[in-house]
């Protein structure tokens, strides 16, 4: 059994807002759902599968009701919550459901307002008494990974800075990007230290907004007007300290989510023409590139340096919308926008200055949770037919 070629991404929409004090979170979900359905050429009445994660107010049942989904028709619901990579997991689960005949038009939504409203705290697990007091945040949890990666492999702040530099080169062409200025390695190194060794410019933006997409059957996709983009490989995994044995923060769960995705797709990292790589922090990108096999473990610093991630300049164009580092990181969850830019690239709808020529094979990879504590990862390989 495989999901290869069984499901197509037929509709995408990224909310243009980055600051939404005048809208509700549920409203943003509805607006992105409407945008994705219109992009596909479908209507809300066509939806028979719904996917959302922890950002959906109240979870799946209030959202299904609020959106007005036809509950006589809705027959597949999935609220898998793995933080920022939830939506990459969702497209895999949607493909499985479609392949099994459990639904035919799956809607996936993400939206929220971290800039204008207080985010609910992360739900605590069994570890709470043994960790809560120590103040793990995104910044310092990723900082701990970067610190150890530098120690073990000699990775430098200059190398990490190149990742932000590449993202900024792309963001200058995105009219909706929160940060449109091109920055230099020096700019990154001169930005204030937030949590050693990560500077402010090693960190992604915080934005209100959201995005949505439609996953559907090959038959329905072919009946629509958009270029055909399909899922051909998918993987998901989790990693944590697991009792503290052999703790190694220099690799992520991407070492387990990547290989099955590549194998299912029948491709290797060398074949990938464009990559959307989760960029909550610069170190996130570097570790994931290593974990996915774009370079050897420990050589990520060399790989990302000197503009290798800049479209038209380097070997692996990444995050051509400006990514989370410059454009958008709605609800502190970057997985959705990673998928959306990969689909734009495959459709040929990216900005002409960053569009990869004849882009027919793209990779989407993300993490969720805290890389230095416990996290999930998901990898998807997408193909233009």
């Amino acid at each position: 059994m495989t999901i290869k070629g069984k499901a197509y991404i037929a509709g995408i929409y990224e909310h243009p807002t980055r600051h939404a004090p005048d809208k509700s979170t549920a409203q943003l979900h509805a607006e992105v759902a409407k945008g994705a359905l219109e992009d596909a050429g479908l209507t809300i009445a066509d939806v028979d599968g719904y996917f959302c994660a922890g950002d959906a107010p109240g979870g799946a049942w209030p959202m299904v009701d609020y959106l007005g989904l036809d509950t006589g028709k809705l027959r597949h619901i999935d609220s898998t919550e793995t933080g920022g990579c939830s939506y990459i997991i969702h497209i895999g689960h949607a493909a499985e459901a479609i392949a099994a005949g459990k639904c035919s038009v799956a809607l996936v939504t993400l939206a929220g307002k971290p800039r204008t409203s207080v985010m609910p705290p992360r739900a605590a697990g069994a570890e709470v008494d043994f960790e809560a007091a120590y103040g793990a945040t995104t910044h310092n949890a990723y900082g701990m990974c970067a610190m150890r990666h530098m120690h073990d492999y000699g990775t430098t702040s200059e190398q990490l800075a190149w990742i932000k530099v590449a993202a900024s080169h792309h963001a200058q062409y995105n009219p909706h990007a929160m940060l449109k200025d091109v920055v230099t390695v020096e700019d990154v190194l001169n930005s204030p230290m937030i949590s050693d060794p990560l500077h402010r410019m090693d960190c992604c933006v915080v934005t209100d907004g959201g995005g949505a997409l439609i996953v559907t059957t090959p038959e329905i996709a072919r009946s629509l007007k958009k270029p055909l983009v399909r899922l051909i490989g998918h993987g998901e995994a989790m990693k944590g300290p697991r009792g503290g044995k052999n703790l190694d923060l220099t690799y992520s769960a991407g070492v387990w989510s990547g290989p099955p995705a590549f194998e299912e797709a029948g491709v290797t990292p060398k074949d990938i023409k464009y990559a959307s790589i989760y960029d909550s922090f610069t170190i996130t990108v570097l570790m994931q590139l290593e974990d996915l096999g774009f370079c050897k473990k420990g050589e990520g610093g060399k790989f990302v340096a000197d503009g290798n991630l800049i479209s038209g300049v380097g070997k692996l164009p990444f995050n051509t919308d400006g990514g989370g580092l410059c454009s958008n990181h709605p609800v502190n969850r970057g997985g959705m926008t990673k998928i959306l830019e990969a689909v734009r690239q495959l459709r040929g709808e990216a900005h002409p200055k960053v569009q990869v020529p004849n882009c027919d094979l793209a990779l989407v990879h993300g993490t969720g949770g805290l890389l230095g504590v416990r996290h999930a990862a998901s990898t998807a390989v997408l193909e233009r037919v």
């Binding site: 043994f130 007091a133 120590y134 103040g135 300290p241 503290g244 044995k245």
Partner: protein, 133 residues
């Protein structure tokens, strides 16, 4: 570079539960406990009733040395309660422990540095932290 020192902070009291209460009772006496599995011999942290490595229920409390070395850390400079250094310690007994480093120059921490446990009071049981040995 940084003159950041540990600030006197208040920490949340552990809530405890039937599975972990012996840990907190020992902490009140200044003893740092880990769990070890009699079936596979592995030690683990934080403590569980069932071994996370072999899933045996033959786990026993063991008093740890409280000594170890810094595996990694990050000095969080932007915090409403002042700078703090979060990190992991690899205990002599093996398991890694998430913690904060306290009572020291936070700007001088190093990976590999030898550290030892120190308990800090809360409104309930004290919490384990680490400081240079």
């Amino acid at each position: 570079m940084t003159e950041a020192k540990t600030q006197e902070k208040t920490y949340p009291a552990p809530q405890g539960n039937p599975e972990t209460m012996p840990f907190w009772e020992a902490a009140k006496e200044g003893r740092f406990l880990i769990k070890r599995c009699k079936a596979c011999g592995e030690a683990h942290y934080f403590p569980r009733a069932i071994c996370p490595f072999c899933f045996s229920d033959k786990t026993e409390w063991e008093q740890a040395s409280g000594e170890g070395e810094i595996y990694t850390y990050s000095l969080m400079r932007k915090s409403a309660t002042g700078p703090y250094a979060i990190g992991y310690v690899k205990l002599k007994e093996g398991p890694a422990v998430q913690t904060n480093f306290v009572d020291c120059d936070l700007g001088a921490l190093k990976i590999g540095q030898k550290v030892k446990v120190v308990f800090k009071p809360t409104d309930g049981a004290p919490l384990p932290f680490f400081t240079p040995a």
